[in-house]
């Protein structure tokens, strides 16, 4: 009790145990999980997938510094990823050249830092005119800038390498931690290291005064002025830091793929990182992590199963916007909260109905899309899930689609009505 009187502020703050549990533990958990992976002897493909996930985690987290925590919607974030990556790429070539001088002594392991610096610089230059406004104007400027730089990427071949891009060889220069970075398993350790560092630093940022001010500016820029801070300056600083971390992930990508093309600066990856962050859930710190995980897996695995994987991605995105604006993280946390509140038996009913509804509607959609894709290809291919032949002309197919979708939607409506009635 004397503790409270001595420093009443301390009583309000979470206890040391809580702080450790909520903040430090997840990071340790992440590091441990990543460290344990090699023990399971994953295949090369698995390693490649994990590397891609690691890069995207940092990229998506950096994006959410702008969107979820700053309220700034950017359509051109890949510019900083790309510029960071290109800077790292050129540094890699300098290391390879081994002329003596600064770069010969610089380890490839440290290239993400080069990306970090380049991303920060780009953010500082481009951010200065962009950050005066928020909202739609900011989004439009980011779009314009992205298009400009994407076009410039193809023009200046000496910097960006034209269509073929710039390549490099990561097995050069001094080694760090005994890693030659040759085999993909060693690259994995490199990626895992920087993923943990990047995630830790970005999380740390949310605990700083600037991090809190950024959230305040997102909520109410007018009020921020009356606590003594300039919202434009807050946005600008956050923009630079977000650009820096995007550049960090670009540097990671440079070492991983050993090639960078102007395509990486374009609107495509900018749109992809937006999808990753939003689908994951912009209101939660782990949202973008989840989104990066899910979307990277979709990108590499789903494309093996179906031609229309981008369409599924689009449908997922729209579904999240319309029905689950908290994203995947929101769904998880919301379900957790419902479970805690109503107990397993209490929520199983609605949960079960909802899940069945989603699964059925999804199946109906899959049948529809796959059948249409094969029909439009014109090769006479037939969609055959589990040996069931579903031709585009047959009434069975269309009956199946209708029944599945109707049942799914009906179940979802029931679930929605139940939730509304309970006032949940």
């Amino acid at each position: 009790m004397s503790d409270t009187i001595a420093n009443p502020g301390q009583a309000l703050a979470p206890s040391r145990g809580e702080k450790f549990r909520q903040r430090v533990l997840p990071l340790i958990f992440l590091a441990m999980v990543l460290a344990l992976v090699p023990l399971m002897a994953p295949s090369r493909t698995m390693y490649s997938l994990l590397n891609a996930i690691g890069i995207n985690i940092v990229f998506a987290l950096s994006y959410n510094m702008l969107l979820g925590r700053g309220g700034l919607l950017s359509f051109g974030h890949a510019v900083y990823f790309g510029l960071g990556g290109y800077a790292a790429m050129h540094a890699m070539r300098a290391i390879e050249a081994g002329d003596g001088g600064f770069w010969s002594a610089y380890p490839v392991f440290g290239l993400p830092l080069v990306g970090f610096a380049a991303g920060a610089l780009a953010g500082a230059v481009i951010g200065w005119p962009s950050c005066r406004r928020a909202g739609t104007a900011f989004a439009m400027i980011s779009l314009g800038v992205a298009e400009l730089i994407a076009a410039a990427g193809f023009m200046f071949a000496s910097v960006f390498g034209g269509e073929e891009g710039v390549t490099g060889d990561r097995m050069n220069g001094p080694e760090l931690f005994g890693l030659s970075l040759g085999p993909v398993g060693e690259v994995y350790l490199f990626i895992a290291f920087w993923t943990v560092v990047g995630t830790g630093l970005i999380y740390g940022f949310t605990r700083t005064p600037l991090g809190k001010l950024s959230e305040a500016t997102r909520d109410n820029p007018e009020r921020v002025q009356f606590i003594g801070f300039d919202p434009v300056r807050v946005r600008y600083l956050v923009f630079i830091i977000a650009g820096a971390f995007a550049g960090l992930s670009g540097g990671m990508a440079a070492v991983n793929y050993e090639i960078f093309t102007p395509e990486s600066l374009s609107l495509h990856p900018s749109g992809f990182v937006l999808l990753m962050a939003y689908i994951g859930g912009i209101r939660y710190f782990v949202g973008p992590v989840l989104g990066a995980l899910v979307l990277t897996v979709m990108q590499s695995m789903l494309s093996d199963f179906t031609e229309a994987w981008l369409l599924y991605l689009g449908v997922l995105f729209i579904a999240i916007i319309m029905f689950a604006p908290g994203g995947l993280a929101g769904i998880l946390f919301g379900t957790g909260a419902a479970l805690r509140r109503d107990g397993l038996r209490g929520s199983l009913g609605t949960l079960g109905v909802k899940t069945c509804g989603i699964v059925l509607s999804f199946l109906g959609l899959v049948v529809l899309i796959e059948v249409v894709v094969r029909w439009s290809n014109g090769y006479g291919e037939v969609f055959e899930p589990f040996g069931l032949a579903l031709e585009s002309g047959s009434p069975l197919t269309w009956a199946l689609v209708t029944v599945l979708c109707a049942a799914g939607f009906a179940l979802l409506r029931i679930a929605a009505r139940n939730t509304n009635e309970r006032g949940a």
Binding site: G9, L12, T208, P209, E215, D219, E222, I227, R233
Partner: protein, 258 residues
């Protein structure tokens, strides 16, 4: 005592052809509690926006503690010691009560746009935040998200964030708007406690609050101050009665017991 806290001279503001503020002269002494009343549309909020830096004056000057502040950016003026609340609650709705006040405290505790320090480790910030929460009696609700507070509590939080920075000139824009009788009484007591020793400029419609709190009252009508004085003087002032009640109400003095 030589300088007034706020000295407004010859202030004009037009928006295109609409001449809203037409030459306001106002002097607020240090430590004074000064209320501004007037019919709707008189320009009270515009006046506040001009003084606090959200609008730039078309003409005229505002001096705070002898130094000019008109034309400065709002956050600059805030840093010089002027803070304001808003008619519609302007808080950080996605943050908790404690985080709201903590943000308000940051600048006065010397924290700039820093990103290398953990905010949890700033002991002085924590202490001040807790003090303010105690003062406004919101400490029980410290961890509630601001958006979930009741209306009256949101207004209280608004005041808390306003005084958090330790400003010595406080502008309150209709702080008791929409409150019930008991909530208003509590709010008035809170305002009195929170602005002890500071200069207070308050816009209010509730005459009870005005006569309770204010040392001096100014009446703003059509962008001009038609009368300034102690509450009793304003009560009996015929020009004020005319502005509020129209020309016929000559016989009746304005409400005996507020």
């Amino acid at each position: 005592m030589s300088e007034s806290a706020l000295a407004i001279s010859g202030l004009h503001k037009s928006f295109g052809p609409a001449h809203i503020i037409r030459g306001v002269e106002l002097d607020v002494a240090r430590g004074e509690r000064h209320a501004i009343i007037g019919p709707n549309g008189a320009g009270k909020s515009t006046l506040f926006n001009l003084v606090s830096g959200l609008f730039k004056p078309s003409e005229g000057q505002v001096l705070m503690n002898g130094r000019p502040i008109s034309g400065l950016a709002a956050h600059e003026i805030n840093r010089r010691g002027l803070s304001r609340s808003f008619q519609v609650s302007n808080i950080f709705s996605n943050m908790t009560v404690r985080e709201n006040v903590r943000c308000g405290v940051l600048h006065s505790m010397g924290q700039g746009y820093s990103f290398w320090r953990n905010i949890g480790n700033l002991k002085a910030v924590q202490k001040k935040t807790a003090e303010i929460l105690e003062k406004v009696e919101l400490i029980e609700k410290a961890h509630m998200p601001a958006a979930l507070l009741s209306y009256a509590d949101q207004r209280t939080l608004e005041i808390a964030v306003t005084i958090a920075g330790g400003a010595d000139v406080i502008l309150l824009d209709e702080p008791t708007a929409g409150m019930s009788h008991s909530e208003t009484d509590r709010a008035v007591a809170l305002i009195r406690k929170a602005t002890e020793g500071k200069t207070l400029l308050i816009v209010e419609h509730d005459m009870g609050v005005v006569f309770d709190l204010a040392d001096t009252i100014s009446v703003l009508v059509y962008g001009e101050i038609i009368a300034t004085g102690r509450p009793e003087e304003i009560r009996g002032n015929p020009k004020v009665r005319e502005a509020y009640l129209g020309e016929e109400a000559d016989e009746q003095p304005i409400g005996g017991a507020a």
